[in-house]
Amino acid sequence: MKRRAIIVVTFLAGLYYLLEFVLPPRIGGAPDADGAAAATSAQIGATRFIAYTGLRNDGRPVIMRVRGDGAGPRQVLIAPGFSRRDDYRGARAPQFVAPDRLYYIGLGWDDRTPRVCLARHAAGRWRTLSRAVLGNGLPGEPDSSGIAWASISRETTGGYRMLYLGLQGERATLCMALSPDGLQWTKRGPVAAEDINGLRPLSVTQTGADARSPVLLLLRDAAGRRILREVVLVDGVRRLRKLADVGLPQGLTLQDIRHSSPMSFLATTEEANGVTRVAALTWSTRMNALALEVTNPTLIAPGKKPTSTYLSDARGTVDDLLVVVGAFAVGLGLIGLAQLHGRRLLALQKGWPESTAFFLAAGAMASFTVYARLHPDAGTWGTRGYDLLFYGLLQPLGSSMFSLLAAYLVSAAYRAFRVRTFEGGLLAASATLIMLGQVPVGNWLTQHLPPYLQIPKVMAWVLFVNNTAVVRAVNFGIFVGALATAMRVWLSMDRASMRSVE
């Protein structure tokens, strides 16, 4: 009966952990359950729609579409593609360029480095290009960490102009690229802008095809306040000149803003809890100054939230239950030890001094630890006693146990390491090399030799080339063997293992 109960409990615990591992913590829910952001208005033929970024808990943003008024069903337009390296970890911040292009920021397989990707509409569907059209720059360049945001406009002359925010670590720099066809881009470097020192650019949007059309720069100051600045390209599009600061709607924290039509904008607003929505804004005047006012604060709200499977929610409770079971095991062990040593001590049998030491050590450690936990900042004899026992006794004893290895190692190496064969010689040579290379004395002994003879360099070659090859070969062999064994057991071909059960 007891055995059966243990089997049932073990099976149920194992089943729970397996299901919790395999199943997602939440199921269902929309791809934009955690927020809608960075939108652009688009038109294919007579169909007007909004493409926007859907955010969800898994950290892989997708580009979605919804009707121009924000109502109606929502569809995923571009999702991260396992076969595409440049938006492998997500796609966000789309911008539609008529008649058939959707530029967006793809989060690449290489640590989510953002870069500009392109999808084109053909034969009724959007097709993504296999590679990004504009990637990150070389180390030291202002876009070495990627491109956070892009605003593309098709010039009246037929070419394309892109203003983008290049990232170098956390630093964002406004840069420009030009292209004759929107596919092959040439970077033109940073665009010098007036009065944005100390301000971080969040987004940039061009309001017209003409190079002299105003550009809107959304900036954030050190206090987190948003500033929307109207600027214009001057000096042969190499510099931005400030025109005016645009008034922003009160009570809204903008994350980005994109020009949508001659009079309107789509912006991402952020709530205090971090949830984002897409809002529609339009030009207005406030106190005779240019301003933006909200026409719809929730043009696109976050989608349906997923439902919890309750498995992950219960994880803490199940873990606690297992900890309690573990604590019982420790308690039973302690009782067993106390019984054994207690009997020996009472009868003054052989070894009673060690039994006394056991009771003293266990009692002292337990009481001082409990006291120190209850009064962590007391600085009294109790906490000092804990420090003495833990750092003054337990730590040196633990270290001493491990340090004994050094003594055994010296003795064993001295007595057993004899070179009798060629392979033994190779082993001795590589061991000597690694032992000396692991310590500064190896470098010191050979620092005046040519680099290829210096011990640290040779050690690195041995470890990175020879050692890596051998470890991979061994691992490969192990896993092929494990796979073969698993298949044999699974397909009941391994009679020997089944026989013991029968």
């Binding site: 290489d110 000597t432 500064p440």
Partner: protein, 279 residues
């Protein structure tokens, strides 16, 4: 007894005394040799330097008294680097004996740099048992606040300023795991899935099996034993326990090499003498 026989039969007690002297002298004499950083240590240092200001780092520490010689220097140097940069980090362990060791280092360093608990670092203590690492790491990566729930002081994750808006492994820019045998599950379930960079701090004896992860770029750096700790201490310009230990280790290694060479010369001489006698 001939000289070659005598050289092969030195008493163990003599060897132990020589070893004790060899490792003690550099410590007390404060000997210093140049410690140039290796590629793997530079990778770890550069990874911390590349974390943008304000972004979170996760430190997982499993070392304790047994591995203090190899891992204390690593932990001390990493914590020094993070706190000097003001990089917020969370720390947790899968070894219940580890927290007192890393906490002492963190508290000392935080006092020196004026860092505040909750804002600059958060300690989750003993969280994932070693046997449940695959499940624990995956659950943590998927839903960090849901799995961790509260820190060692009982403060819910949602009320810790350093963890505002943390949802999953995407919100960590770097994971540093320090211990005798670092947690490989971070490669399987975090680096491969979320792209978060991983750095290993490892005992030297285990490092040979993990060099292939550097080659495949699954980890961006590795601190190997006391050497890794010493090199990192030099990089952050704060030589401490790691440098002290590696100097002692230098002479220990030299002694072993010298003894092996000496015993082999003696064995060779003995074999020749025996051949001469029999032939």
């Amino acid at each position: 007894m001939r000289w070659y026989e005598r050289l092969q039969r030195i008493d163990n007690r003599v060897l132990y005394v020589i070893l004790a002297v060899a490792v003690a002298v550099p410590v007390f004499a404060r000997l210093r040799l140049p410690i140039p950083p290796t590629t793997e240590t530079l990778g770890a240092y550069d990874a911390v330097e590349a974390v943008p200001p304000g972004r979170l780092v996760m430190v997982q520490s499993t070392w304790d008294a047994g591995t203090i010689g190899e891992c204390e220097g690593q932990c001390r140097a990493v914590v020094e680097h993070l706190m000097r940069r003001g990089q917020p980090f969370v720390i947790w362990t899968s070894n219940p004996a580890s927290p007192p060791f890393y906490n002492r280092i963190i508290e000392e360093t935080a006092r020196r740099h004026g860092r505040i608990y909750g804002r600059d670092w958060v300690d989750f203590g003993y969280k994932v048992p070693g046997g449940a690492m695959a499940f624990g790491v995956q659950a943590m990566a998927r839903d960090f606040p849901g799995y961790m729930k509260s820190d060692v002081r009982g403060t819910p994750v949602s009320r810790l300023p350093a963890l505002a808006r943390v949802r999953n492994a995407n919100d960590f820019d770097l994971i540093i795991t320090i211990g005798y045998n670092p947690i490989g599950e971070f490669i399987q379930f975090v680096q491969a899935v979320y792209g978060t960079k991983v750095v290993f701090g490892i005992a030297a004896i285990n490092s040979t099996t993990t060099y292939s992860y550097i080659d495949s770029k699954q980890i961006v750096g590795m601190l190997v034993g006391a050497r890794g700790g010493a090199e990192y201490e030099v990089l952050v310009d704060r030589a401490g326990r790691g440098v002290q230990i590696i100097m002692a280790q230098s002479f220990g290694h030299l002694l072993i090499v010298a003894l092996v060479v000496m015993a082999n010369i003696a064995a060779l001489a003995q074999r020749r003498a025996e051949r001469r006698r029999s032939g």
